[in-house]
Symmetry: C2
DNA sequence: ATGCCCGCCCAACTGATAGTTGTGGCTCGC
DNA sequence: GCGAGCCACAACTATCAGTTGGGCGGGCAT
């Protein structure tokens, strides 16, 4: 099916004339006639009743029209998503089920008219992500460099929101039925956090966390895949892992796992957003405002050492827009 | 843009291999390669990174993918909407802003996965609509024949729901600031209800209504268009009209009109649904159940004489399905 | 009643293109 | 180092989209 034919059909249905649609689309009336005829042949259905005054939708045409509109709208959105220059807002997240993506999805649900594309740079190094932001490959990235001095000149990093952690344990774990746990209660546990890239910001986060509360966190080992971790969690009476409270990682229903909030203090990972210092994408402002409107974490909160930068609002980047 | 190319892109992105997508789509690998290349040429963007193991989405490809999925889904829905034989549920309404369409829209919002097409037969005679139902051109029609004996053998008519009427008046009308009105209060008014086809079920409805409450209803005159009626309403101190409480007819904001509910008794038009007696469309059952779940009208209700058939539920038509 | 005009379809032509087969290059794993 | 797997390029063909030109039919005005 040719989307230009679908577009011709929509316009012709709206105008009630092939001629008018042809004029608008910059082709001859015959071309529109053939396009519609091709559609009708493909669908094996008559879409228009031809009259001397123009065309009129048949029942099938009426039924087809809203779907045709949806196709055309989809095509237009698809094109603007990748059009170089004036493309839709594109934000890099670590994974599509991460807290970052979940919060972005929340934003999109409250602003469904926004053209927002969530992508994942297949790189580990936040400095590569910073370079992608600098190059304009993405408009913003949810990555953190722990030393802001290593950022490119024209990339800034602002605080987005804090992501609280929860303990994930299997049914045989002694804390399995706890409603909340405190960091001191984690002291004797074996906490597996696989898949952490050495020397990454996550490695440093877990390092500081282990030191601060005298925890035993295995973050170094290679990632053998989610199944290995999940199998270990389900079977073990002392292995646990940490997940973001907003993460929406899914696992087969066969895994009987429990999420337990951590409080006093809440352990939180500070999520940052990297964006160009000059002329950031216009759509970013509303997204950042959305972060600011998120409810702050209740009670005491522990954060890693680098999360000492003051909170910034969208207003702070406003002057950089031209 | 060719939707088969878009579909190929989606499958290739999911499989990570052009080859695999080609096998599934029943074309050669080269064809898929050319389709993707054509898409890339049209979008002026690279969608895949080619590797020796297959293909991998670029950032642009990631951004494009969800829109591509939406296009493909739209195409599939469009095709099923008109596919002869197994097509989507298609219901005829009097107008897209009528109470019938509004209630169907409510239904669809609570069951968004339903493939439902709302169309309008461009005919006045309910018997023509009945013939369309019989022929399978539509799966059901919101029309009423006041004498069920005139229906074709294999078409049945069931009660859908009652649509209460409201008074529509301009600002200078003496009832303009009333919160409700009763039928006796309408006795001296000039009520214009233009566009009523003589001898139609609506003509008979207004006829019975006028007789029952000694009203003066001008339903015979030709329809000069909405503007004429609206102009008359705005200017006049005694002209009023009746609209369905659920109707969503829109008029320019410049018209300052008020809707006033009618109570004691509520005046209601009984909406019926005509459907095949044998093998009605499977999706109809849920729609009819939705009607049954609508809140009944409060207080006393006046209905025309033919609305004496007992209410029927979806269960009554269940045995006719094979 | 009789043209006229408008809008659509059909016919013929041409340039583009989608699909096929055949082939070559690349990378990974054994 | 070699084979297997996967993708791109080349050449060919059949199809098709779009153009110009012509004809038909139904309102509408004279």
């Amino acid at each position: 099916m040719d989307t230009e034919a679908v577009r011709s059909f929509v316009r012709a249905a709206e105008f009630g004339q092939l001629q008018h649609a042809a004029d608008e689309l910059g082709v001859t009336q015959q071309a529109v006639s053939k396009r519609v005829a091709a559609l009708e042949r493909e669908l094996e259905v008559r879409l228009f009743i031809r009259t001397a005054r123009g065309v009129e939708l048949t029942l099938d045409g009426q039924a087809f029209l809203p779907h045709a509109r949806s196709i055309v709208a989809g095509v237009d959105r698809a094109v603007t998503a990748v059009r170089p220059g004036s493309r839709a807002l594109r934000i890099d997240v670590l994974g599509l089920r991460s807290a970052q993506a979940v919060v972005l999805h929340d934003y999109w649900r409250s602003h469904p008219e926004t053209d927002l594309d969530v992508v994942t740079l297949r790189v580990n190094d936040p400095h590569v992500a910073a370079a992608a932001v600098q190059a304009g490959d993405v408009d913003a990235s949810f990555r953190t460099v722990t030393d802001p001095a290593t950022l490119p000149r024209d990339v800034q990093m602002i605080h987005a929101f804090d992501s609280p952690l929860e303990l994930l344990v299997g049914p045989r774990h002694p804390l399995a039925s706890a409603r909340t746990v405190t960091p001191p209660q984690l002291r004797k546990l074996r906490i597996w956090v696989p898949g952490i890239v050495p020397r990454s910001e996550w490695a440093e986060f877990y390092d500081q966390l282990a030191t601060a509360f005298d925890l035993r966190i295995d973050a170094a080992g290679p990632n053998f895949g989610n199944e290995v971790l999940l199998d270990a969690l389900v079977d073990s009476a002392d292995v646990a892992t940490l997940v973001g409270a907003r993460d929406r990682y899914i696992w087969p229903a066969s895994y009987d796992l429990r999420r337990i909030p951590i409080v006093n203090p809440t352990l939180a990972y500070p999520l940052s957003l990297m964006l160009p210092r000059t002329t950031p994408h216009p759509g970013l402002r509303a997204v950042i405002n959305h972060f600011a409107s998120l409810a702050p974490l209740p009670g005491a909160v522990w954060l890693p050492s680098w999360a000492t930068t003051p909170r910034r609002s969208a207003g702070d980047i406003a002057h950089t827009r031209h």
